[in-house]
Homo-oligomer: 429 residues x 2
Amino acid sequence: MKPTINIGIIGLGIVGCGALKILQENKNEIALKVGSELRVKRIADLDIERERPVEFDRSILTTDAYEIINDPEIDIVVELIGGVKPAGKFIMDAIKNGKHIVTANKALIAQEGHPLLEEAGNRKQDFFFEASVGGGIPIIRPLKICLAGNKIEQVIGIVNGTTNYILTRMSQDGQDFSDALAEAQRLGYAEADPTNDVEGFDAAYKISILASIAFTSRVDVKGVYHEGITKLTKRDTAYARDLGYCVKLLAIAKRNNGAMEIRVHPAFIPQTHPLASVNDVYNGIFVKGNAVGDVMFYGQGAGAMAAGSAVVGDIIDIARNINCGATGRISCTCFENKAMLSMDDVVTKYYIRMQTADRPKVLASIANIFGDNDVSIASVLQKTRGHNGEAEIVWITHEVKEKNFRTALAAIEKLPVVAQVSNWIRVED
Amino acid sequence: MKPTINIGIIGLGIVGCGALKILQENKNEIALKVGSELRVKRIADLDIERERPVEFDRSILTTDAYEIINDPEIDIVVELIGGVKPAGKFIMDAIKNGKHIVTANKALIAQEGHPLLEEAGNRKQDFFFEASVGGGIPIIRPLKICLAGNKIEQVIGIVNGTTNYILTRMSQDGQDFSDALAEAQRLGYAEADPTNDVEGFDAAYKISILASIAFTSRVDVKGVYHEGITKLTKRDTAYARDLGYCVKLLAIAKRNNGAMEIRVHPAFIPQTHPLASVNDVYNGIFVKGNAVGDVMFYGQGAGAMAAGSAVVGDIIDIARNINCGATGRISCTCFENKAMLSMDDVVTKYYIRMQTADRPKVLASIANIFGDNDVSIASVLQKTRGHNGEAEIVWITHEVKEKNFRTALAAIEKLPVVAQVSNWIRVED
């Protein structure tokens, strides 16, 4: 056996407890795989009094993260406090003190990861963040290593478990958004302030990270279009089902003529698509490579043990690198600065649901405006609703530039016969 | 850039051509990722005249594999001829000459991998075989690295595309086995002699490889029970559907009280199981870890470019190891020699279809024999067939030891009222 490798954990919340538990329970197997004992030497958290769902020697607790960052015996610093501040400073200081880093912090990596990765890379130190996307699902390493021979064409992910749970309830049980959200909150799947999840911020961080690896180009998350699921209704999820689709919050990254097309929004996908069967809090990440074709990675996107599994996988990888003197072996692979495609130039299909007057030529007048803007129609469904002279029309378009679609929609909304465009959702085949 | 890394390929068949094409098409991206140019210096094949679906400088062709194995300039030997002989000798000689190895040869790894892996490990040389299971799907590295913090409880795979294609046609189109096989042969998905696939040999090799990694224990493929799909009929696939299942050829590996339970056979799985939506020639590998929970890996299990993707991923990983002096970084992880569970002691559920006399007390007399052997019944379905006085009875049991089940079945087959036990299939929930 080689010398013990010392670990410091900053942040003993849900994921921290999971990682600690795994390191304890699987201690012997891990030592055999690494060739060293892994020892959690110190844990920092602002709250060192609270009971935790894992037993450990509480004398290693400290409220001062710098007792870890400045400890010359500690080899690996695991940052699990989340958020940009003070996590970013902790990590930078730890790197400068020669520590290897493991983090699950998607907000930090997506917004301010560059200087951290660069500093670690220059110093030949490891900086791993497998748990930042997809919880326990192996996805970052498979993209960086196993699929490294590919030019990755697309990454399409269901990467937010909270919204996927809500959408599953809406689709399967006919719930409306607010009821499904309330249930998710009751079950602990959604936070009291659910904005970060339901408005797509979380998914935007994650797809930025995946896209930067897939396309070997730095992605500025500020340029990533994101739209949440709050405007979806059970009428939309029901229409989706009737039309052979289901509704998912997709995080999409595609190569598009040398630029990167990256966007997060609810979308119709065919019920036969591999991602369509990713339900409840599960995540699924669908990757298309120019060699491998379609592959999908599926599993629990969150939770103490699942995310802890990814954190411990990173720790083991670093420990193996330490033991063969190969830390910094694979560092940042963003060799390029590709342009981001504007949403105006995105080409996709659309579902539109609108309330109109129920009389002759209404459909024709709307279809004319679509046609004037090069929006061609794949299917249309008209339903009379009650006796108030109102109809509901549902359209599915062929592929068209978002700019043209939006221009058409603005003109249609002004038609006197159109009471309301109730919703529109992009369709991904 | 570091010095060029030289590659020799032995066997320029389907996968060899795929790997060569990928190395050419994605040359620049790969060089950036590795930090070196990768150069295919020499290719050996018995047939150097045939046209191939890839353009390359044919002067590098040779019929003599030892022009690669003995070339001191070559760093990585890629073995793609398949089969145990002479591939095993080629690889051992190459290892002894200091070469790192990439192979897709599941039969060799499963049957005679041990001394090769040991020799490479002792010499700190890399020996990778990601393409041996699941084609392009990343599965071996995720198990060895990303999920290394887990005690893996189960691996259940659809790892043979040929049989999955046949079963998909039987299930979806109501074809019988022989028609579906003929179609698979016409499309190039099945070989003229399909024994290796349809009798489950191929899947047995693959699950042996996965189990040895998942359970960190050497698996002797000779001890792996395997049963093919040739006895399945369209009546069975139709009953499966009606009962909420689908039929898949499963390769199963489970931890069972310190022993390993490894078996390959057709099985009913619920239509809601993630593996149930793995259709046609696709593969899916479902893994349960004590930390990560359930994860699934999905993609094309065969084909030039998909398997080529895995081969090139291995090459890139070795090249990165060469460039940081860390070859042999992760070698064989079989630290144990766990016992294999006998099929007699396997506990599972069963579907049984039988033809019986259509008269009172037949069902009771069969049910009694089941009961006498501790086989308890979850559901039973009886159908009268025509007017010949014969009935068809379909049973689903609860969990029971295979030994008890087989004893019951042998007794039932001897009952005068039982014309025939037409088929029985294990049920995995």
